[in-house]
Amino acid sequence: MSLFDVFNVAGSAMSAQAQRLNTVASNLANADSTTSSTGQPYRAKQVVFSAVPVAGSQASGVKVLEVVEDASPPRMVYDPKNPVADEKGYVAMPNVNVVEEMVNMISASRSYQTNVETMNAAKTMLLKTLTIGQ
């Protein structure tokens, strides 16, 4: 029954968008983390989406293909009193762009919302189908 596949499709999109939101939260939370477990400043992370075919139908779901690290250089801030400052007094701050992350956050939550509505519409259609002939 193809309407049931809508649940798989919308569900995969919801979990992908939730992971994107998770990444945004991690980036925003670490916007000022100058050190991490590796000793390097935190690097912004982004998810890469990819379409995956759903078995037995023409539709495609979504999955997170990989989480990539932003390769842009760290932001250098002059702060000689900071213990992690280099010999010239500069501190390497994470390359998190807060504006970009906020836009990403809104986009992810709107997409999530749309997929919830898609799922609800499919659910209503299925429930109505069950009342055929009554």
Partner: protein
């Protein structure tokens, strides 16, 4: 007798199953709104319905697939025998995605209403059948 009942309900049944398949396609367009290089797809409903109602016989045989990643043989990925089409691009985007959220959501709501209309019709047909049987 059974054949006649079957014929009586076939049109709405075919329409319902095509509507359900189209709903699924639209849902996957909406789900992939943020996927780079995804191309939005749809079917031409009236030609799909026409070919689904046409007498069977020319339908291509389907290949058995053992993995979800296997591609369909040409001619099998066709709801009701109509080809899956690509939407023309309304506004180009840098990542190659052609999903226009407004179009997709419009079509999704439209398709859902038409599905429910078909449901109402088939329910009415069943009610009139019952009335004829029970007198």
């Amino acid at each position: 007798m059974i054949g006649k009942l079957d014929d009586y309900l076939r049109f709405q049944e075919t329409a319902l199953s095509l509507r359900a398949q189209r709903q699924q396609l639209l849902a996957s367009n909406i789900a992939n709104a943020d996927t780079p290089d995804y191309k939005a797809r749809d079917i031409d409903f009236s030609s799909a319905l026409q070919s689904a109602l046409a007498p069977a016989g020319q339908a291509p045989s389907e290949l058995a697939k053992t993995s979800a990643a296997h591609l369909d043989a040409p001619g099998t990925a066709r709801p009701g025998g109509a080809p899956l089409l690509y939407r023309s691009v309304q506004q180009g985007s840098v990542d190659g995605n052609t999903v226009d959220m407004d179009t997709e959501r419009n079509q999704f709501a439209d398709n859902a209403i038409r599905y429910e209309a078909s449901l109402t019709m088939i329910s009415g047909q069943i009610k009139s059948l019952l009335a004829a049987i029970q007198g």
